[in-house]
């Protein structure tokens, strides 16, 4: 990417973040709450996209990392009474450790085998969350205690029941994720990930340690997903095993495909589009998932690179 295109790309991402910041002052109450959730889920999808979109590794186990964050934050807050920042770090750290461990094992495989191995790990974590009902209350889940709804940081008090606080925390996490992903994909690591995606043997032949680079991508991806899970538990006060189910791995994949795999902003747009597609379609029919499915089929047929991917391909080549 040349310097002018960097300026354009950075400016566009800054504009998106600034727009989201300004939107909170004009959005009706429901959409204010909806976009808060969308931003948290978009962090999950953006983390997923780093692995899938840039490294070309199709994981069906990312719900595990989201759940690692969810339970890491939720259980420490619920059972140990940890403060919000400590629980958030615990959740994100859980995702870091889980992705490192699982990466070391699963990256010994590739292609369909990688997809199956990651899915199996995720299924184990889902069933574990049901099995240890004494601590997790399984499918029923836990409601975060009042202590996990407020915290003090640098002398300021934050109340997570306040929609404005919640919106801005979600926005801060989204901003952080955007910066991290943007920096990675523009840097050497990102270039190498794309090289691995396109032709791993050749990248290996050029002297790159592809295993190490893929592991790095998986750990960053898993940690960002866990960060989204931690935020979800603390912002919305609920921890339950359904978030560890395969549906949530597939959700991250669909958000990414819809928005555009291998683009920084694609997953955000995909999450946004999917949320509102379901929300609006469900007003008209109980078969709203059919409509969503048809939309995805149409997308795959006519816009296989997703919304942002198509825009990049046809009109805006400098999009990262």
């Amino acid at each position: 990417m040349t310097a002018p295109s960097f300026t354009k790309a950075a400016g566009l991402h800054l504009l998106v973040i600034m727009s989201l910041f300004v939107l909170q002052f004009v959005l009706p109450a429901y959409h204010h709450l909806a976009i808060t959730r969308i931003m948290v889920l978009a962090v999950f999808a953006m983390g997923y996209n780093l692995l899938f979109g840039y490294a070309g590794l199709l994981s069906l186990g990312h719900a595990l990392f989201f759940a690692a964050g969810l339970y890491g934050a939720g259980l420490t807050a619920y059972h140990l009474g940890w403060s919000v920042p400590a629980a958030f770090v615990a959740g994100t750290g859980s995702g870091f450790l889980a992705s490192l461990l699982i990466g070391l094992i699963s990256l010994r495989t590739s292609g369909v085998a990688f997809m199956i191995v990651t899915m199996m790990f995720a299924q184990v974590s889902y069933l574990a969350s049901l099995y240890f009902t004494t601590y997790t209350r399984g499918d029923e889940g836990l409601v975060m205690p009042q202590a996990a709804r407020r915290f003090e940081l640098f002398g300021a008090n934050f109340d997570l029941t306040d929609p404005t606080v919640r919106y801005n925390i979600a926005l801060a996490l989204l901003t952080l994720t955007t910066v991290v992903i943007f920096a990675i994909v523009r840097g050497t690591t990102g270039r190498t990930l794309v090289a691995i995606r396109e032709n791993e043997p050749r990248t290996l032949m050029l002297g790159y340690d592809t295993f190490r680079i893929k592991l790095k991508a998986l750990v960053i991806s898993g940690t960002l997903s866990a960060m989204a899970g931690s935020a979800y538990a603390l912002l919305f006060a609920y921890v339950g095993s359904s978030f560890a189910s395969i549906q949530y791995s597939i959700d991250a994949l669909l958000f990414t495909l819809l928005g555009g795999a291998g683009t920084v902003l694609g997953p955000l747009l995909g999450t946004f589009a999917m949320f509102y597609m379901i929300d609006i379609a469900s007003e008209y029919t109980a078969a709203y998932l059919l409509i969503t499915g048809l939309a995805l089929i149409a997308l795959v047929l006519f816009f296989p690179k997703g919304i942002v991917g198509t825009i990049r391909e046809r009109w805006v080549s400098w999009l990262p």
């Binding site: 889940g141 409601v143 469900s282």
Partner: protein
């Protein structure tokens, strides 16, 4: 489907109007047609009372959801024909939660901030209740659930959550343990789903049967992803006197059929929760072995010899025949054991709104509604409460009522024992009234 207003004759349709009642807010057309006309016009406002029905229209709770929707439509028609609530018609707005806690919380947000309902109501599955309840509390939206889990009664939720229309699992199992122990046997093997709902049965029934001098011979937990059960059934020990089963979800029919195939002509006494066969026709092939086994029923599916006039009225209004099937489709079996909770919850909402003089969505009105609901001590048996009288504990927001033990006789469920309310009482430790509003 959102923005749906109950329309009894045709079920639910989007942006349709309940017997013309919903439109009463703007058009006045319905006011001319309905018996409540005079009272509506005398009310401080003719704006409808908006009730958000959080419905399992899709997902694993869909068979319950279908009937929860029909019962709601019927109850709202009765309420509106009787003049509404405080002279205002009731409008029901339906949103599908997909039986998913994440979507459930989003639906609660939509009710509170987009539809601006007075009360959200109707949720059944525990994980959706628990996933949604924090948001209801934070948005200060009264949230009346028709679940069975022990979550409301245990105090783990918040002051805005009530369960006035149906008893909780803990109350149900301790009410029946004495009868099981006395009439069927003391050595019990339990088969239950290996998740929280099943664990409530495991923990509270085990405790209750031991208190009766009985013992639990085996605990067989079935993983939630299981679709065949044959490998679990040999774990039932041969000295088992009573087999206790409770299963939920799409595989229930398979479970019950495989149970029959496993036992053949020789079996212990069998006591099941109707959840294992809710919405399933007893005349389904291979269920013959259930003859002479027993079931818990919240509300008896088959009209009994001593059927009350209230049950008769309720059946007629909801469109259920004497065998528990839809009057318009004999193959469509109702979730009769649970769905009365919707009917009774709506009348509990009405009672609390009328007691508090609820007029609108001001904080004072909402506070008055919560306090009025907490002040309720009992519900008398009647058209509003056809399942029977109940007591209500304002501290833990939970009702306590009668349970029915039915025997499969000639392919029907005949009630052989009805527990007293006192049988289902336990020491209550939760007190929501200490939480701020």
């Amino acid at each position: 489907m959102s923005n749906s207003i109950i329309k009894p004759q045709k079920g639910i349709s989007r942006r349709s109007v309940l017997q013309g009642m919903g439109a009463a807010a703007g058009t006045g057309l319905a006011l001319q047609a309905m018996p409540g006309f005079v009272r509506y016009s005398q009310a401080a406002t003719s704006e409808p009372v908006k009730i958000g029905l959080q419905l399992h229209r899709t997902g694993i709770g869909a068979s319950y959801g279908r009937w929860y929707e029909r019962v709601t439509a019927a109850a709202v028609k009765v309420i509106n024909d009787g003049g509404g609530i405080n002279g205002r018609p009731v409008e029901v707005i339906v949103e599908d939660d997909g039986t998913d806690p994440k979507r459930g919380a989003e639906v609660v947000e939509k009710f509170a901030t987009q539809h601006k309902v007075d009360v959200a109501y109707g949720t059944l599955f525990s994980h959706v209740v628990i996933g949604s309840a924090p948001r209801a509390g934070e948005l200060k939206l009264p949230y009346v659930v028709v679940s069975e889990g022990h979550h409301v009664a245990s105090g783990k939720l918040n002051r805005y959550v009530f369960q006035p229309g149906i008893t909780d699992v803990r109350s149900q199992v301790i009410a029946m343990a004495p009868w099981i122990s006395k009439n069927l046997g003391k050595k019990v093997t339990m088969i239950f789903p290996d998740f929280a709902f099943g664990h409530d049965h495991r923990d509270y029934f085990s405790e209750a049967i031991k208190a009766q001098g009985g013992q639990v011979a085996g605990l067989i937990a079935i993983p939630p992803t299981e679709s065949s059960f044959t490998r679990y059934l040999p774990q039932i020990s041969s000295d088992t006197e009573v087999l206790y089963h409770v299963m939920v979800g799409p595989a229930v029919l398979t479970f019950v059929k495989e149970l029959g195939q496993f036992f053949g002509s020789s079996r212990p006494q069998i006591f099941g929760f109707i959840d294992s066969l809710e919405a399933v026709d007893l005349a389904t092939p291979q269920l013959e072995f259930l003859e002479d086994t027993y079931f818990w029923e919240g509300n008896p599916r088959y009209a009994q010899k001593d059927q009350t006039e209230y049950d008769k009225f309720y059946r007629e209004m909801v469109g259920v025949d004497a065998n528990g099937a839809s009057t318009s489709d004999q193959k469509d079996i109702s979730t009769y054991s649970h769905m009365f909770g919707c009917w009774e919850s709506l009348f509990a909402i009405k009672q609390a709104m009328e007691a508090s003089g609820y007029e609108g969505q001001t904080p004072k009105d909402k506070q008055g509604f919560i306090e009025a609901m907490e002040a309720i001590q009992k519900f008398d048996e009647g058209r509003e409460h056809p399942q029977g009288d109940k007591i209500f504990n304002g501290k833990n927001h939970q009702c306590y009522g009668h349970q029915n033990i039915s025997k499969v006789t000639g392919g029907r469920l005949e009630v052989v024992h009805r527990t007293a309310i006192e049988d289902g009482l336990y020491e209550v430790s939760a007190d929501y009234t200490t939480m701020s509003l």
